[in-house]
């Protein structure tokens, strides 16, 4: 948001610079990082220190445990990434051209997918934060800016495809079509949640490894 204010003061209300900041920073870095923190943080530490045993030793379906964690992770990611995105977008571009709406929607749908993806990571590895950051920063941000293939295989681009249609003209563009983006987002979210729940069913106490 600080960045938004500075850019706004320097460049005035310009939709293009809004796109640069929102696309280059908010969606490329902030949303995935918040997703990593919220997604892995929702379950990783409990698995790490063993207190997750109190949750798992209950007559509650593991699926329910995971979905509850997922709802919290999604909510946290949305609050701490989509809301700042909206505020930044309003500062940068006002309501002009639908840019603010486009990026907010993109951040919202990306929040869901990231939270699910990183929550699953939390059930797979104890180094979920590192793995998650590597994915978010190296794959999506770095490789994505050089290799077009990597770009079309990233949550960020799929989310942009979904949100992009809400902006006027070709201001907000993505590597993939809206439908592809939406379908892939749903597939990734559901698959990650399903696999995470599966991992929880066969979770081994940390002391045994």
């Amino acid at each position: 948001m600080v960045i938004s204010v500075v850019v706004r003061l320097m460049a005035g209300a310009d939709p293009q610079s809004a796109v640069n900041v929102l696309g280059g920073f908010a969606l490329a870095a902030m949303v995935p990082i918040v997703g990593v923190i919220a997604g892995t943080g929702a379950i990783g530490p409990e698995i790490d220190d063993g207190s997750v045993m109190y949750l798992l030793s209950k007559p509650v379906k593991r699926r329910t445990v995971l979905l509850t964690k997922l709802v919290v992770a999604i909510a946290v990611t949305m609050v701490f990434s989509a809301v700042p995105t909206l505020v930044s977008a309003l500062i940068l571009a006002g309501t002009a051209d639908g840019v603010a709406v486009a990026y907010t929607v993109a951040a919202l749908v990306a929040s869901v997918a990231y939270a699910s993806l990183f929550l699953m990571l939390g059930t797979i590895t104890r180094h979920a934060v590192v793995v998650g950051l590597v994915y978010a920063l190296v794959w999506e941000a770095l490789l994505g800016s050089f290799v077009p293939g990597a770009r079309s295989l990233s949550v960020q681009q799929w989310a942009l495809a979904v949100g992009g249609d809400l902006a006027e003209g070709k201001l907000v563009t993505s590597e993939v079509t809206t439908v592809t983006g939406a379908v892939l987002l749903v597939v990734v979210t559901v698959l990650a949640a399903w696999y995470g729940a599966r991992r929880l069913r066969t979770l081994t106490p940390a002391t045994e490894e």
Binding site: D49, G50, S51, M53, Y54, L55, L56, S57, K58, P59, V60, K61, R62, R201, T202, L203, T204, P205, A206, T207, E208, E209
Partner: protein, 303 residues
């Protein structure tokens, strides 16, 4: 009345065998799972608690499989060894949360807290609790749904004698009520004070099983080794070997002592001072040379 049945259960991690072909029934009453550190006690308990799948064999609770079956937690209460809890909660919040996960409420949580006598500190944060208090809150969280099976992993670790007595009392009461209580420990004295039945596990194998008297007997009836120093080692050796309670004597010149193998421990301990007095020999040192738990266990495994 609930029985946990282990049928030819093995568990390995990579190429390390933690539990090796164990078959046992754990029934109502208090059962102690005794064994040295690293014997596979925690692995066994984790398999009984449904946290680990057996690599081979089956673990069942009254005929129902334990692994991948969340419903068994209606009947099982678990007290993990690890200290980690939700430190930012108060004791009461923690137990209430556990109750709610069972679909129960405040009343049951209060009852469980009363059972472990933790009401006086229930509104303090768990982070401020001592080890014994944590252990008792863990107990309360495991007892909140009135389980018929209670599994405790090293519950007495790090407790002071008073806390130990209190916990033993709770366990005895649970056992007397007909619940199936199983706890692990590496200290024989601890186990025999509470458990009516003892299962001994060594190096992943089921070494012995029985009430504490039979386990005690197994442990004391084994050949004992003593290191003895006296004013006249050879004369003492000659006098001792005449009695059947002594099965072997070695003169250790380097140590300047006798290494005596006693076949009958009770008779030997009475014989030694008498023989020494009769022959006018002064005893300088009499010390059991292999009383360590490890040697006791290795004897049990060989038996």
């Amino acid at each position: 009345m609930t029985t946990i049945k282990l049928d030819h259960v093995s568990r390995w991690f990579g190429n390390v065998v933690a539990v090796n072909d164990i078959t046992m029934d754990v029934g109502p009453g208090v059962t102690g799972l005794l064994g040295p550190n690293g014997a596979g006690k925690s692995t066994l308990i984790n398999m009984m608690a449904g946290f680990l799948s057996p690599s081979a064999g089956t673990v069942t609770l009254d005929g129902r499989p334990v692994w991948r079956n969340e419903d068994i937690y209606r009947e099982i209460g678990i007290v993990p060894e690890r200290e980690a809890m939700y430190d930012f909660l108060t004791g009461r919040e923690f137990v209430v949360a556990n109750a709610e996960l069972h679909g129960l409420g405040d009343a049951e949580a209060q009852r469980a807290l009363a059972l472990v006598e933790m009401e006086y500190a229930q509104d303090r944060r768990i982070g401020t609790y001592s080890k014994g208090m944590r252990q008792r809150v863990k107990m309360a969280s495991a007892l909140v749904h009135g389980p018929s099976v209670l599994l405790l992993d090293e519950p007495f670790n790090g407790m002071d004698p008073r806390q130990r007595m209190q916990l033993m009392e709770v366990l005895r009461r649970m056992g007397a009520e007909g619940r199936t209580v199983l706890f692990s420990s590496h200290i024989l004295e601890e186990v025999e004070q509470v458990a009516s039945h003892i299962e001994v596990v060594v190096a992943g194998r089921h070494a012995a099983s029985g009430d504490f008297r039979s386990i005690r007997r197994l442990m004391t009836d084994r050949p004992h080794r003593y290191l003895v120093r006296s004013s006249d080692d050879r004369a003492l050796a000659a006098a001792l070997i005449g009695d059947p309670s002594t099965s072997g004597i070695e003169v250790d010149a380097a140590e300047d002592a006798l290494l005596i193998q006693a076949a009958d421990f009770g008779r030997f301990t009475a014989l030694l001072p008498r023989v020494a007095r009769d022959h006018g020999i002064r005893l300088y040192t009499v010390s059991p040379s292999d009383e360590s738990l490890e040697s006791v266990f290795s004897y049990l495994v060989a038996a």
